[in-house]
Symmetry: C2
Amino acid sequence: MIHEKKRTFNEFAASKGLRSTRQRDIILDVFLSTHQHVSVEELYLKVKASNPGVGQATVYRTLKLFVEAGLAREVLLHDGQTRFEHVMAGEHHDHLVCTGCNAIIEFENETIEKLQDEIATRHGFKIRSHKLEIYGLCASCKG
Amino acid sequence: MIHEKKRTFNEFAASKGLRSTRQRDIILDVFLSTHQHVSVEELYLKVKASNPGVGQATVYRTLKLFVEAGLAREVLLHDGQTRFEHVMAGEHHDHLVCTGCNAIIEFENETIEKLQDEIATRHGFKIRSHKLEIYGLCASCKG
DNA sequence: CGGTAAAATGAAAATGATTATCAAAAGCAG
DNA sequence: CTGCTTTTGATAATCATTTTCATTTTACCG
Ligand SMILES: [Mn+2]
Ligand SMILES: [Mn+2]
Ligand SMILES: [Zn+2]
Ligand SMILES: [Zn+2]
């Protein structure tokens, strides 16, 4: 899948006439090696660990490109930091967020998605995206 | 309802041992006179119009109290500003957000709420709150 | 009523994430 | 290579929100 994503990005870059740079390769590699929901700062530190030359601004810029290319998605939780998660083509999920330990549980629910479509239709609204976040305490934190 | 909310806040203040101040009265009055989804800056300007002495920090501080007291709710959309909306006791709704004209349509859906409970239960998760925002184009902006 | 301790306020500074600037470096078509 | 354009990195700028802290208010007690 990693190779798949690299190809996705290369195709996107080509279609946009973007140049291929060492920095973007590095950032993509590091991003693909992370777990879900990385903050820019976290990613920047990881990148810097192996490649001290890379600037923070470039990490910001490149993550935006990943979103445009469809291989990352912005996740804004309540902690003041934009996070990015991997996205498989066509895949979608929502989040249970534990306010105790910051754990994030992902889930999908087809019925909820359908109900959202119905609601939108009822209001003459054309959905582009949506966000469902459930905040509370996970099994361990409920204790 | 306005009187009701004032009482709610006074009770909250009493229970917390908060002192009663002119500023809080003013800010509550102005807040209750606004429409839904006010930003802090908007509210601050309204307050300043009639009461130039009141500081912005106090508006920030007081809005937090309203949330604690249960008569306001934070709404974080994608525009970099925290907004606050009125909350009636026990009432809840979610949002359709038009990315064209920034209109906000409110809706309630009991089935979605129930499905969320099921999902939480399935994951041993104790829900404290949730947020469902549907982004897209409203009827006018779809054109 | 004053007198006082604690809480609240306002102005200004600090913070922190993100974005803009711009000179220097790198990629690429010819 | 050459020349032109994009990209980069360091740094400054933004902008919403928070913190600080000296001053003002409030609540309470004698
Ligand atoms: Mn996720
Ligand atoms: Mn609302
Ligand atoms: Zn937890
Ligand atoms: Zn619209």
